[in-house]
Point group: C2
Chain length 191, copies 2
């Protein structure tokens, strides 16, 4: 079969979004990098935003997979959540595309980027919520509101990883796990 043009376009766009962000990426540029006529892009994607969305959807899958891989079923719930969340947030910290988008969100407030960041947060919250519900069912943790609990866990992690080091020495991964246990978990655990 001939080269997969759709894949070429996705790869080109990913590269360009990672390098220049959403706004500064032009469709002409994507077409050029992909070695494809601009019109071809529009046979696969309705518009620039849809192309962007498709890329973000894969990113979300990739994140979930990374989080799942960081856990294993022998771990306690508390260790699972710590490793999963840490993995996701580290992913955010290391991945070119997420770094660029994070920056574009706060520096320029590009609407399409804002939207996508909400989607990303929702995906993380949904993922967390799933784990929490499962843990409640198994009696690993107390009854609690899964939405609020997921929200609090995420906020705490973001605060410890991103916000704390704005004004202090960064915390080690182990310290974060310990703090998480001390503040959240000892209050949640059945034992």
């Amino acid at each position: 079969m001939a080269i997969d043009r759709k894949q070429l376009i996705i790869e080109a766009a990913t590269k360009s979004f990672s390098l220049f962000g959403f706004k500064a990426t032009t469709m002409d540029q994507v077409a050029k990098i992909a070695n494809v006529g601009k019109g071809t892009i529009y046979t696969f994607f309705k518009n620039k935003e849809e192309l962007f969305d498709e890329i973000i959807s894969s990113l979300i899958s990739e994140m979930k997979r990374a989080a799942d891989e960081a856990m294993d079923s022998t771990l306690s719930f508390h260790e699972k959540v710590h490793r999963g969340l840490y993995q996701i947030l580290e992913f955010r910290l290391k991945h070119q595309l997420t770094i660029k988008l994070f920056q574009e969100e706060k520096e320029m407030g590009t609407p399409a980027v804002m939207e996508v960041m909400i989607k990303l947060e929702d995906a993380i919250l949904g993922y967390l919520k799933e784990k929490i519900v499962a843990a409640i069912d198994k009696g690993e943790i107390q009854e609690c509101n899964p939405e609020v609990t997921a929200f609090i866990m995420l906020k705490l992690y973001v605060a410890l990883i991103f916000d704390w080091e704005k004004r202090n020495e960064p915390l080690e991964k182990e310290e974060i796990a310990k703090l998480f246990e001390q503040y959240i978990f000892k209050g949640l655990s059945n034992r």
Copy 2:
């Protein structure tokens, strides 16, 4: 004695900062509202920022006073922190000036405003830290790092009061107290 020009200037500036924010407030405007020549302002304050700083310093005192008033010594540490923090954040939510500055911080990133918001956060953290150290000394709570604990408490409260309601029904004061107890306190308390 004649009218207190310094006080007039402070009142005029507070009014204008509250109404238009820091950047959009002109010294001519402050002078006009205060019924004072512009030059007079500069006999009391080195520049616009110093005038702003003095106003913020009183604001911080006012906040601390409000927090202190919301507590009484018969309360448990957990109730004290809840009431104090809630008071401070509600203050932020209701006070014209803080609302305007909060908005100016994220929408325009005015440097002078950013600086002052850091100062405000530091004041809250310092205040909290004091209460935490006292509680540790009295054996009311476990040993813990007071800086990190203050930081986590503030972040949790801000998340529950400001961030949660961006995408959900606002939480009642009682719910917030309960969540705070459930997630933070049960893990901290000696009993």
